[in-house]
């Protein structure tokens, strides 16, 4: 009797417990997604607002956002990813840096998460997905792209009846005209102390000389060793830089000038032009300079490049292979590239979003931003930047060679020789 009663009691207790479990939904585990990005204007605010909005569908997910300046970020990220307290999702450039992390199994293959309903692969165009696609798998989500244009002071051009150049030769002539107006005016300051400004020039000058297809096999080191970097177009591109320097385009000591000083020369109208990234628009607006126009780097006379190609570097986010929450991490990234967030990203950060479906509705952005976004939309070919695209030792050799060409301690041909030497060594190691 006693046993029978106990059994009944157990049944009742079990039923009550079961009912209670069904009535109260299980409390989801609290999840923290640690996110690392660069310190760009408006980025912090954009992520903070997006994280709040994300809570509507993911109330248990908290986004912990940390920002870093550019150069320290590159080192800090590698150290953190190897360690045990790294970010779950992190900013990265497409190209060699992303590829290296994939090779070392530090970046997660997110193809399946991306292809799930609502995933980023269902939202972004194929061209953008390619930015982080390796061997057919997706290892990142493209968030935006940066491009470069020659920005110019409209009022200065109108006052002195200067015209937008159509070729590099005309650009040189334009620089001479500016020097003719006032010899102390630097037409387009370079600011190459940290070496990346001139490598951006070389990125486009190589394209203008040889076209994207002409350089691809050298850049990824797939060309046979005896032909690697032997195209005379490389020396021609260096020579074009020398010609512009001879035309007085740049300051006297470009390799000793900080890029920030070059930027401020244009922003304060001390110089009428600057070859600058699309990220410069927010800085110019902040400095109160809005009356500027822009044009693509002109084509090279007799070159194989195309006026429809321009500097375009996709950037985005990757997911750490060590994350404990890959599903939520990718859902967060997919949320960031949704139509609505693409629009907010454009408004807050003023970078060209990978999802630009609503870009025309953007409010509070300068007209120049919309014009640039429109121009980028007409590009037939994007040209990725050499310091992110090339194998690191080759990129370093290219940057040093460019410094030496500007210093006139290397001829264009000798500079190509240095790059080829580094490329052969890198190819042999592969």
């Amino acid at each position: 009797m006693q046993l029978r009663l106990n059994g009944e009691m157990r049944l009742v207790a079990g039923a009550i417990l079961g009912a209670a479990l069904l009535a109260v939904p299980a409390r989801a585990e609290d999840i923290v997604i640690k996110m690392w990005t660069l310190d760009n204007n408006g980025y912090k605010e954009f992520i903070a607002e997006a994280a709040e909005s994300f809570k509507a569908t993911h109330p248990n997910v908290t986004i912990e956002h940390q920002i870093f300046p550019g150069d320290p970020y590159k080192t800090a990220l590698k150290v953190a990813l190897v360690g045990s307290d790294g970010p779950d999702v992190f900013f990265n450039w497409s190209g060699d840096r992303a590829k290296q992390l994939i090779k070392d199994k530090l970046a997660l293959d997110i193809t399946d998460f991306g292809n799930a309903p609502g995933g980023f692969a269902k939202v972004l165009p194929e061209g953008w997905l390619d930015a982080f696609r390796y061997d057919g798998r997706l290892y990142g989500v493209a968030m935006d792209a940066v491009s470069k244009y020659v920005f110019y002071d409209k009022a200065y051009f109108a006052e002195h009846k200067l015209e937008i150049p159509k070729t590099l030769g005309e650009l040189g002539a334009l620089c001479k005209a500016v020097r003719g107006i006032n010899p102390d005016t630097i037409p387009m300051p370079l600011g190459n102390k940290t070496r990346w400004k001139a490598i951006h020039w070389m990125t486009m000058l190589n394209e203008r000389a040889m076209g994207v297809e002409g350089t691809a096999a050298d850049y990824d080191l797939s060309r046979p060793a005896d032909q690697l970097y032997t195209d005379p177009g490389y020396a021609k591109a260096f020579q074009a830089l020398v010609d512009l320097q001879d035309a007085g385009c740049f300051e006297d000591a470009p390799n000793a000038t900080e890029y920030a000083i070059a930027d401020s020369m244009f922003a304060t109208k001390a110089s009428p032009m600057e070859y600058c990234g699309t990220w410069c628009t927010s800085g110019l607006d902040a400095a109160g300079f809005t009356d500027y126009g822009f044009f693509r780097l002109p084509v090279m006379e007799g070159g194989k490049g195309s006026a429809d190609a321009n500097f375009l570097v996709p950037e985005g986010y990757q997911v750490s292979a060590k994350t404990a929450h890959p599903k939520e991490a990718v859902e967060w990234l997919s949320f960031l590239v949704s139509d609505e967030q693409g629009l907010k990203f454009a408004e807050k950060v003023q970078f060209l979003p990978s999802n630009a479906k609503l870009i025309d509705k953007a409010e509070g952005v300068p007209q120049s931003f919309k014009d640039i976004a429109r121009d980028v939309g007409t590009l037939k070919q994007g040209v990725n930047v050499l310091d992110a695209l090339l194998e690191s030792t080759v990129a370093d050799a290219y940057m040093n060679a460019t410094v030496e060409v500007l210093n006139r301690t290397l001829t264009p041909e000798a500079a190509v020789g240095k790059v080829r030497e580094a490329a052969l060594a890198a190819q042999a190691k592969q």
């Binding site: 590159k74 080192t75 590698k78 150290v79 990813l81 190897v82 290296q100 992390l101 070392d104 199994k105 530090l106 630097i186 300051p189 102390k193 940290t194 070496r195 300051e251 006297d252 000591a253 470009p254 390799n255 000793a256 000038t257 900080e258 000083i261 020369m265 690191s392 030792t393 370093d396 040093n400 060679a401 410094v403 030496e404 210093n407 301690t409």
Partner: protein
């Protein structure tokens, strides 16, 4: 049940060892935090660096491949490694002359030459020592900027030519500029060391020497120099070790450029490790730097003891 025999300590060894007193226990306990910190942040990384120098690996790769002495052989044939070493030697020699020499001259002036405002001058000269190297580097970057820097403006105002490629952009003068910045920052420290040495020499020695007819250069040679010999040795060794270890100043002002012209062992090791991912090779160079620093440190201790 009988207990096992208790082990006994034989008399000879215990007699040789000093007894573990409360005082020595306290001393050990007091030193423990420092020893632990040295172990964790210096000794263990140093051992790992030595081991790592015999492997090929990148910072992000999981696999270490044993390569024996290849990384050291690579250093021997790497022209940039030798350039970095020669730049270090240049900085060491230049720093000894400018910092120790300059510090000695300033100390002598303050000790003997200036009657008023001694403390003010001393404070002004010493001030850069307490500023962080990074801040010093940024300030000098602005001073030396070819477009907006005051140095160019002053030189031009004097009707003199400025370097076409900039003070930090010209490979032939950029290393000299680093030397100048390092001297500006550190000469005050050497001055204080030497001044303390000078002031420790009893005045009676000079008075006695003066009665014997030894003045000026003779007094300097026979009294001052032997009197501050120990301090000079110490100042020189500190400068030499600092010259070999230099990193932050070069990293911020030139980044080792233009085109590797100012590359030193510290920055080149950093570049190989973090830009190119050659951690094994970077470790080998770090070991070279470590051995150099240890040898110089040993020399310092030895010379100090002898003195």
């Amino acid at each position: 049940m009988p207990l096992p025999p208790t082990p006994t300590i034989t008399g000879t060894s215990s007699a040789r060892r000093p007894a573990l007193t409360a005082g020595s226990l306290t001393a050990t306990a007091m030193m423990a935090p420092a020893l632990i910190l040295i172990g964790v942040f210096i000794l263990i990384p140093a051992v790992v660096a030595v081991i790592g120098s015999f492997f090929d690996f990148s910072m992000t790769s999981a696999n270490w491949t044993y390569v024996g002495g290849d990384n050291y052989r690579r250093a021997v044939t790497d022209p940039l490694f030798w350039l970095a070493i020669s730049n270090n030697v240049f900085i060491v020699v230049g720093s000894v002359i400018s910092q120790v020499g300059g510090g000695a001259i300033l100390a002598a002036i303050l000790d003997r030459g200036i009657r008023r405002g001694n403390v003010v001058y001393r404070t002004i000269i010493f001030m850069p020592v307490v500023i962080s190297s990074i801040a010093v580097a940024f300030v000098w970057m602005l001073i030396l900027d070819p477009n907006v820097g005051p140095l160019n403006a002053v030189v031009k105002a004097l009707g003199l030519p400025t370097p076409r490629l900039g003070w930090l952009g010209d490979p032939s003068i950029s290393l000299w500029m680093l030397l100048l910045i390092a001297a500006w920052q550190n000469v005050g420290f050497q001055m204080m060391l030497i001044l303390a040495g000078l002031q420790a020499i009893p005045r009676e020695h000079y008075e006695a020497a003066s009665l014997d007819g030894a003045r000026g250069l003779k007094a300097f040679w026979y009294i001052t120099l032997p009197g501050i010999r120990n301090v000079l040795v110490l100042a020189t060794l500190i400068t030499v070790i600092g010259g070999f270890k230099v990193f932050d100043l070069v990293f911020v002002t030139t980044g080792g450029g233009p085109a590797n012209a100012t590359q030193v062992l510290g920055t080149y090791t950093y570049t190989q490790a973090f830009a190119f991912g050659n951690m094994g090779y970077a470790n080998a160079m770090a070991v070279v730097l470590l051995v150099t620093a240890v040898l110089l440190g040993w020399l310092q201790v030895r010379l100090s003891r002898r003195a």
